[in-house]
């Protein structure tokens, strides 16, 4: 029974990884940028929410109304101001720029907040749970995170499939030159994609801050987990990313069940095994993203 419990807990842990990973997946899908500052941005969002709560007394969930729009603007500005420029110098440059950003953010946070770990308090919700079966306990907050992840991924999927801007994004991804000839402004479009991606990572970051303790360098792990979710699921597929997040979460909790200290290592090993055996991921482009 404890194994079933480990799998169920892993599923919900995976929900938070999927939420963290979908922005990474979207930015790679649309503009072939791997944003190495992705994890650092999630952590900044958590710190921003924390300071809003401390300074204005805002309820924890209300901070999302501020943090998410602010990060959408940050994402747009980052893309237009830095990354569009970097793209002109080839594919390595955005990597170097986003890595630089990640280092600046992590060390800046350390200067501002010290290296002590922090958490966003959400009161009773953090421990609330229900028992769907004997020996099986499901936390309400992890369930909420998983639901939010599914909703966000569905929304992005619908946006890409149904709206005019979403179509333009897919067109630009498939053939940038042809899309430009059709009058699509790819610089603005990339900005919009980055805005969505960074908004989702802000949402994910605040949820992360509510579920666990974080430090200025916590973004490193976040980036690694998000990346593993993307690769396990298969590049270019948002539903694959969701599945990848769940697989990673289960690998970690089942690994921790075997030996409490080895959860993260188990996740890495599952990732490497999939890279070895099925490098296209478990769910390659099953749904056109």
């Amino acid at each position: 029974m404890e194994w079933v419990n480990a799998v169920v807990q892993g599923l919900f842990l995976g929900g938070s990884y999927a939420l963290l990973a979908c922005g990474l997946s979207l930015m790679f899908g649309v503009m072939k940028i791997v944003n190495l500052a992705h994890g650092a941005l999630a952590v900044v969002a958590a710190y921003l929410a924390l300071s809003l709560i401390e300074h204005t007394g805002m309820p924890a969930f209300a901070t999302l109304l501020v943090v998410v729009p602010v990060f959408a603007v940050v994402g747009y500005a980052m893309q237009r101001g830095l990354l569009n420029r970097a793209l002109k110098f080839g594919e390595l440059s955005p990597l170097l720029v986003t890595f630089g950003l990640a280092v600046i953010i992590a060390n800046g946070l350390q200067q501002l907040w010290s290296a002590d770990s922090q958490a966003i308090k959400i009161g009773a919700l953090s421990t609330a749970s229900f028992q769907p079966g004997a020996d099986l306990s499901v936390g309400l907050f992890p369930l909420l995170t998983l639901v939010v992840a599914v909703v966000v991924i569905s929304a992005i999927q619908l946006f890409l499939a149904r709206t005019r801007t979403g179509r333009a994004m897919r067109a630009t991804r498939d053939d940038g030159d042809a899309a430009r000839l059709m009058g699509i402004d790819d610089r603005h479009l990339y900005g919009v994609a980055a805005a969505i991606a960074v908004a989702t990572v802000a949402l994910a970051g605040v949820f992360l801050g509510m579920s666990t303790q974080f430090t200025p360098t916590y973004g490193d792990l976040v980036l690694i987990f998000a990346f593993e979710a993307v690769i396990i699921g298969g590049l270019g597929s948002l539903w694959g990313t969701l599945l990848g997040g769940l697989v990673l979460g289960i690998a970690q909790t089942v690994g921790a069940q075997l030996n409490p200290a080895d959860g993260i290592l188990a996740g890495h090993l599952v990732f490497l095994a999939i890279l070895l055996l099925k490098p296209s991921g478990l769910f390659p482009k099953a749904v056109p993203a």
Binding site: A86, S93, V97, F99, N107, Q111, L269
Partner: protein
């Protein structure tokens, strides 16, 4: 293409074309560097404190790391943020071998390089399934796996690390002197080896790879194999650097020797100094070291400053500081390219014109 190695004259009717390597600038610059190395070896150790010598070992490790990270990213097109995996493996290998088998630390450092080359070869087959940014994060995952696996072994001290015992009973000045000269010798060896490598036919292939991988493949450069060799060589060198860091600190702990900060150091050194040149990373390492020493009392400010400068460098000076100083590759201390000089004989011709064959980067 190997025939171009020496300068030769190809006379034509109107112009005479000479192909040559290097210039008076190269001779002067190279000569100056030789003088610096001789001073570092023969004068500096007797005139500075032991603490400064220990710090300088750190600088030499950074030169090794910068030079070989540049080989990876600047020539091989492989951006790795996981070389700390090999720094850590090298550090642990050196300390473990020296403690366990009573090897001299010098031998331990060299063996650490071998261990890392052996680790890097199979790793490359796994990682080379990823490209670009995903390769970058993949290298980081591998480094994390190395770290987590290291902490599994009691013989390696688990989470608390290992202390180097091989130097017990050796006088402090002798020990620091040995490590200093070893580090200097290895830094010089790595730079000279890189230079000779880049002058070879194989280096020409790498330079082509740097400028355009598709065209290079079309011209017969074995892209994948070249990248694999570069990865193994750079990882072996990271192992040497890690071993130097370990014998310098007399201790390895998983969190510090496998720290992702080393990836940041390497990237900043190469991007600020000048990616895709041999001189750039050396310059970058010196700047990095100076800034680190100067700002170290202010915590991690130097990393923020370097991050900003690195981003500016990527966006405004993609060839880094060396690219600016050398006028886009016209001055080379380590001449690798070939240059065509034509002398116009017609009246009104504009003197000797220079065209770089492959010395000046084309990106």
């Amino acid at each position: 293409m190997t025939d171009l190695a020496t300068s030769k004259k190809v006379p034509t009717a109107a112009t005479s074309i000479r192909v040559r390597r290097g210039s008076r600038g190269s001779l002067a610059g190279g000569g100056a560097l030789v003088v610096v190395v001789v001073l570092m070896a023969a004068v500096v150790p007797y005139n500075v404190s032991l603490g400064t010598l220990t710090n300088l070992v750190g600088l030499f490790a950074l030169i090794i790391l910068g030079t070989t990270w540049n080989l990876l990213a600047g020539y091989g097109g492989l951006v790795s943020i996981g070389q700390q995996g090999f720094i850590g493996a090298g550090g642990y290998a050196c300390v473990y071998l020296a403690n366990q088998f009573g090897l001299s630390p010098v031998l331990g450092v060299l063996l650490a390089g071998v261990v890392c080359a052996v680790l890097a070869y199979p790793t490359s087959f796994l990682l080379f399934r990823l490209v670009g940014g995903y390769f970058a994060i993949g290298t980081w995952v591998v480094a994390e796996v190395f770290k987590l696996v290291t902490t599994q072994f009691h013989a390696l001290g688990g989470g608390s690390g290992l202390s180097l015992t091989a130097f017990q009973g050796v006088d402090q000045a002798t020990r620091i002197g040995q490590v200093y000269w070893l580090a200097l010798a290895l830094a010089v060896a790595v730079v000279v080896a890189t230079w000779l490598l880049m002058r070879s036919r194989w280096g020409l292939g790498l330079t082509a790879l740097r400028d355009d991988p598709t065209a290079a493949a079309g011209l017969g450069v074995a892209v994948r194999r070249s990248q694999r060799i570069v990865y193994v060589v750079a990882s072996a060198a990271a192992g040497l650097a890690g071993a130097l860091i370990a014998v310098n600190a007399l201790r390895v702990t998983p969190d510090s020797i496998y720290s992702v900060s080393y990836a940041a150091f390497m990237i900043f050194i190469v991007v600020i100094g000048g990616i895709g040149s041999i001189e750039g990373p050396i310059l970058g390492a010196v700047i990095f070291y100076a800034l680190q020493q100067w700002l170290q009392d202010n915590g991690v400010i130097y990393l923020i400053v370097l991050g900003v400068v690195a981003i500016l460098a990527v966006l405004t000076a993609p060839r880094g500081l060396w690219g600016l100083l050398s006028g886009g590759g016209r001055v080379e201390f380590f001449p690798v390219g070939h240059r065509v000089r034509t002398s116009e004989r017609e009246p009104g011709g504009v003197g000797p014109a220079e065209a770089a064959a492959d010395g000046a980067p084309s990106r």
